[in-house]
Symmetry: C2
Subunit: 342 residues, 2 copies
């Protein structure tokens, strides 16, 4: 493991200055009037000595790292991992790298991670926040590093944000269920309940009920804790299905659906015979089950892409975006689990 060669090394070996070498290697040789001859010599020697630029030094000098931080609740959740992939690809085009972090919906942890990223001098952050208010985030990001929110927005409408039109998705889905004859529709969600994504889905659900003259029933609105979701879903559903008989379940995301399907499997609950089912998010499973599952697909790739575009905008000239909140309409996939009932 030999010592790395630096600008100085190659400058010295050529009896020129670091300045010159730096210019040439950054492709700014010509415009600074370095002779073609010298330029070629520099480049040749750089290759010869196997020069590797030190981005750290470069970043320190330039005040930018070409790295952005991405904070989500769990990178192994397929919804997020697909967004991350899209973000990665979009950023690659602009030569940015990605540091990823998971919060497990833990506000404390999120705070620490934000600080961390700030210390690391990331040029920007993309955050799917668990916090309840913009002030909470601003309190952490003191340096004014730009950030854009994804999936969940906060109280300040001027925060750049990209996500799904959750209200619309839930409204359509619920309306569809109602039209197909379902009346006692459970809405299965998880904590924390202040997340805008979940709140908007709930609003869409309630509005759809209202518009179809169905009275909401509080007992059908379930919020399980985030941790140990599977077990909590099981218990809640067991309780619900043992007494009053709901006729459909609307799961607010993919992990809740998985938990619910598990419950149905164990309890031998037939879909849509005994209960209808519809879900937010669209995962492979939904179209591969023998009874395919009706769902609202979020445009994950689009969310990732747009978030990057917005962030890069924000990095170049903060606060310049025309449109602060971008809500991408979801796509309703009507399948067999929500078949018409009498």
């Amino acid at each position: 493991m030999k010592k790395k060669t630096s600008l100085a090394d190659i400058a010295q070996s050529l009896n020129v200055s670091k300045t010159l070498v730096s210019m040439v290697l950054n492709g700014r040789g010509e415009e600074n009037g370095i002779s073609k001859d010298t330029r070629e010599k520099v480049i040749a020697r750089a290759k010869e000595l196997n020069y590797q630029p030190n981005m750290l030094a470069r970043s320190l000098r330039l005040g930018k790292t070409n790295t952005i931080g991405l904070i989500v609740s769990d990178i192994s959740n397929p919804f997020f991992s697909k967004i991350i992939r899209a973000v990665e690809d979009a950023l690659a085009e602009y030569d940015y790298n990605l540091i990823v972090c998971s919060t497990d919906e833990d506000v404390e942890k999120e705070g620490r991670l934000i600080k961390m990223l700030e210390y690391k001098q990331v040029d920007g952050m993309i955050i799917s926040t668990s916090m309840a208010s913009e002030t909470d985030i601003r309190k952490k990001i003191r340096s004014g590093i730009p950030f854009v929110l994804i999936d969940r927005y906060l109280d300040n409408p001027d925060n750049p944000y990209v996500g799904t039109d959750n209200y619309l998705g839930a409204y359509r889905l619920t309306s569809h269920l109602i039209k197909n004859g379902y009346k006692k529709i459970v809405i299965l969600s998880h904590q924390p309940t202040h997340l805008s994504s979940l709140k908007d889905r709930k609003k869409g659900y309630l509005q759809a009920l209202k518009d179809h003259k169905i009275n909401p029933d509080d007992r059908l609105i379930i919020d399980v804790p985030f941790q140990n979701r599977d077990r909590h879903v099981f218990e809640a559903m067991e309780h619900l299905f043992s007494e009053g008989e709901p006729d459909a379940v609307f799961c607010l995301n993919n992990s809740l659906s998985l938990a619910f399907l598990d419950f149905c499997k164990q309890k031998n609950i037939n879909i849509p015979g005994r209960t209808g089912l519809a879900s937010f998010d669209d995962i492979d499973l939904f179209r591969l089950l023998p009874v395919t599952v009706t769902s609202v697909r979020q445009e994950v790739t689009e969310i990732g892409k747009q978030a990057v575009i917005k962030l890069l905008h924000e990095i170049r000239k903060p606060g310049s975006a025309e449109e602060k909140r971008v809500q991408i309409p979801p796509i309703l996939h009507i399948r067999e689990s929500s078949q018409k009932i009498s």
Copy 2:
């Protein structure tokens, strides 16, 4: 967005030296004999001025970034995203961050990413490589940054590596199928065929056939291209199922299984009636289908954890590990898709 406060600022405002401040803030004040009084003053002022350490400068000085790079073929593949999560959690304990990259099994791209990470001075890398030989990687990592391979090893047995015992998993799974009466077992894989993971699984399959006196049939060994897998799997299977009738399919990973299940769904192929099925990897889908799918579960969390331990080892004293290659035994989940046939 006010200018950030640096060590110098707080030193100046207190009429002490940067050195002192640096020591105190790094908790090395006491051991360097800074008076308690001064220490407290420094800490108070740091808080007051809202001091945020600049890790970039720190890293440049120290020659370490506390960041490691993780390269996989696709971070949105659940197998990898779970490993990533485990890696993230394990690294967090040692205050390391994670830069993630996807290669799409593209050797060129992998090369560029490795270089990238090297320029960024990551302290180490965890790589699920698509390359065919260790030299190819070493050619990229000139600086001697330590790395550990996951999921796939290379020709050099001294390369630190953590993965599943793929041979064993495939051997057991195939043996199980044979014992349950299956004889014409398709093995469905994808390119590139030099990946040790896939090669070992194939070896396990062949050995199991051999040990049970079944002659391997080349027509049953399928390698589809990595890109557009779904379509290729469909076409290959359509071809296969139209002529000679295989009696089981062994999918070498989760994405191939998804593609195959899709095929079965579209073609109305009954499992296990018309064909048995078994798969490497274990995904939610497999236990939620009405006919549950027999699979070999890889210990993803364990792989991530061990990779981190190995890498940290390697960072502290390179080449010191007792055991270079760690092969974690997989777990066979026997389910309904491989039921006994006559």
